[in-house]
């Protein structure tokens, strides 16, 4: 199958280095300490953060820093065919772990000892790049909850199909079986917190694909900063500061 046309266009009409339309909204869940909706094209994710709060299971309490927990879940209607089991399968468990480890790298957990931070991520619509969208949504939700972080974590995926590096893969491109690199970075510190790759890829090409993903992450970071700034201004206005 031809994923990039001779004119240099992908199946959804994007150019190889073009991202999908992104949209974010803060404060989607009123009961949560922090929450956000993040959309990348047709992928739609909602994240909520509860905490810092008292540790539910005392045996898990850590005296030196906070306990971070994460749960990733896909809605039954998020994919084309109705999902029978949306939680507890290997994929969900793995993604939950990936998100937790990625977010733990940026949260200043030592400032919140003997407490627990719960990050819940729900996929409402899946069209490739759910992992990246979840990390971006979780970052926004943590910022909304006022949890201290070293930097924002932003994530983006990139792939290599038809001898062309592609940025921000959708479901069709993702399931083509080609290499898929998911990258998470701390944009200000210029550090990588997450790097996952499936399939074989020559090292020299990996550098190009990674560079493409880094640019995508930085573009998302700029957008997230704008959203947070707009939200802060709105809060200032409401409080009459």
């Amino acid at each position: 199958m031809e994923y990039v046309s001779p004119e240099g266009l992908r199946l959804d009409g994007r150019r190889p280095m073009e991202m999908r339309q992104i949209r974010a909204e803060i404060g989607a869940v009123s009961k949560a300490d922090g929450s956000a909706i993040f959309e990348m094209g047709n992928t739609k994710v909602i994240a909520a953060v509860y905490g810092p709060r008292e540790v539910q299971n005392r045996s898990q309490q850590i005296s030196s820093h906070a306990l971070v927990r994460c749960e990733y879940c896909m809605a039954n209607f998020s994919t084309g065919d109705r999902m029978r089991k949306s939680k507890g399968d290997r994929r969900s468990t793995e993604i939950s772990l990936v998100i937790r480890q990625t977010m733990e790298a940026c949260i200043l957990t030592h400032l919140l000892p003997r407490s627990q931070i719960d990050i819940y991520v729900q996929v409402l619509q899946a069209d490739g790049g759910t992992r990246s969208a979840c990390i971006n949504a979780a970052t926004l939700a943590l910022a909304d909850a006022g949890i201290p972080m070293r930097d924002l974590v932003t994530s983006c995926s990139a792939g290599y199909l038809n001898s062309t590096p592609l940025l921000d893969l959708n479901y069709v491109e993702d399931s083509a079986g080609g290499p898929d690199v998911t990258l998470g970075i701390l944009p200000k510190l210029d550090k990588v917190t997450l790097l996952q790759m499936d399939s074989k890829l020559p090292i020299d090409i990996l550098e190009n694909v990674m560079q493409l993903a880094i640019e995508g992450c930085k573009a998302i970071a700029n957008y997230i900063r704008e959203i947070l700034l707009a939200n802060t201004k709105q809060l200032e206005y409401r409080r009459g500061v």
């Binding site: 909520a48 709060r53 927990r69 749960e71 879940c73 809605a75 109705r82 819940y120 991520v121 729900q122």
Partner: protein
Amino acid sequence: MLIFVISAIDFHMPPICSPIVRPGRPAEASPMVSKQLSNTISSSRMTDLKELSLVSGKAAWMAYLDIYCLDADGALFDAALLSAIAALSHLQIPSIAMNDDGKIVLVSDEDGQKRAQEPVNKEKRKLTLRSIPFSLTCILHKNYILADPTAEEESIMETHVTVVLDTSGQLISLYKPGGPVLAYTSAIQDCAALTRQRVKELNNFLDKANSAMEV
């Protein structure tokens, strides 16, 4: 003999929706609302189940209804019922054909070539909904009736009354799960009167939403 399948209704409360809901065990409200929804939709007879039949005695549509609560802030059943009605009113049954083996084949409108099988239903169609049910949950507190309570109000005051009426004003179901306040008949009638008012509002709201969806 006709085969019909009433939709399998699931009301999900993921831990995202409330600080009370934790991962692991499902929230206790979840199966309760699912059952209540299932009872209400079947007893209201809003859908003619014959519409879900494809071939008499052979095949019928199975409709799954998954409702996700993303933010639990009181009156969960009311919101769930409204979303279920909205989803059913937006539902389109696709055009399909059935081959000799009894396998179902989707028929796209763009197919220019001659079809091997005659479609069971000629075109995409919507479900016919009649006498749509709407509900209102009220809280009874001393001499007061609090309509459409928030989660905070629900947690403080324990006596709920949920009244379900259809668009023709007929009572579909009445639900009062215990509670310390023993309601007089007049209080129940007041709740029904409030629901009647609410039905009109929700019906208009649903019509507007449906017309906005039409292209």
